[in-house]
């Protein structure tokens, strides 16, 4: 699972949960993959991402040290930030871990890179 995918997920489907976002990330195994950098694509995809949630996810796995508190308005002018965003969005692969609902503490396993969001009917 990439952090980009994490950015799109919530646990709002659980009964009684209104927000469920961002899911807390617990990682026991992750890898770094080589993915070709494309500044334009990173900039475009950031327009679909919640930067606060991405930064929080990076903090939880100690990968946020090079990310600014807020993104500059002229992001295209900051090659270093774009490269760091590329790294955290596309190169980090979460292999084993858990996603945790911030409201209820319900945990969803990530195994072999695959998060499992299935719940029982009564949840």
């Amino acid at each position: 699972m990439k952090l980009l995918t994490h950015n799109f997920m919530s646990s709002r489907f659980l009964k009684g949960v209104n927000e469920g976002y961002p899911l807390r990330l617990h990682v026991t195994k992750m890898e770094n993959r080589d993915v070709e950098f494309n500044a334009e694509f990173v900039k475009n995809i950031m327009s679909k991402c919640d930067y606060g949630a991405l930064r929080t996810a990076c903090e939880s796995i100690n990968e946020a040290s090079k990310l600014p508190a807020n993104l500059p308005d002229d992001l295209s002018e900051h090659d270093d930030i774009l490269r760091e965003l590329h790294r955290v969005l596309f190169c980090i692969e979460v292999i084993e871990g858990e996603l945790e609902c911030p409201d209820t503490g319900r945990r969803f396993p990530i195994h072999d890179s695959i998060p499992n969001l299935l719940v029982e009917d009564n949840e």
């Binding site: 699972m1 995918t5 997920m9 646990s11 489907f13 694509f41 679909k48 695959i114 299935l118």
Partner: protein, 199 residues
Amino acid sequence: MSIPTPQYRLSAIRNHDVYEPAEDTFLLIDAIEKDIKELRERNPKIVLEIGCGSGVVSTFVNQALGGNVTSLATDLNPHALECTLETARLNDIKIDVVRTDLETGFDHLQGKVDVLIFNPPYVPTEEEPTTNIERCYAGGRTGRSTLDRLLPRIPDLLAPGGVFYLVALHQNDIPALLAHSSALSSSIAMQRRCGIEHL
């Protein structure tokens, strides 16, 4: 120029109750290939396939769009997700997969999906499905029991200018499907008779 069909390992698919690429799969691929120039011009960033099965369609779309796109895929069947990751690996592309029902849990994808793909279980059946293989095709009495749960959520899921590819059977009531949302404009991209199925 023709885009090659992705490689896939049939043995892995057959051993694990995963829907094997068939006429409907190839019709979907052919329809997307026909539109590929226009799809590329829309400059899509996010492709989501719901019910990815073997992963052949998601892999095809990722390759056809030149790889510069993020592919996400969901399925209920864990073996389908493993198959999809393997098909992606075989073809040297990346797909992120999540085990969930339809697009449940992807609230924060609303308004962001540029290309949405769904080849639902469309075959009219007396009973609702109970096994992995039945869930691949069995669509209840109208053949639309799964599709009808997703349809109302499609307009919210799509990005402005986003497109949705759906496979359906003649018996699924195509005119009703084409008219289901005033927010979307719909057309038959391609149709084909395959044995008893009119897709």
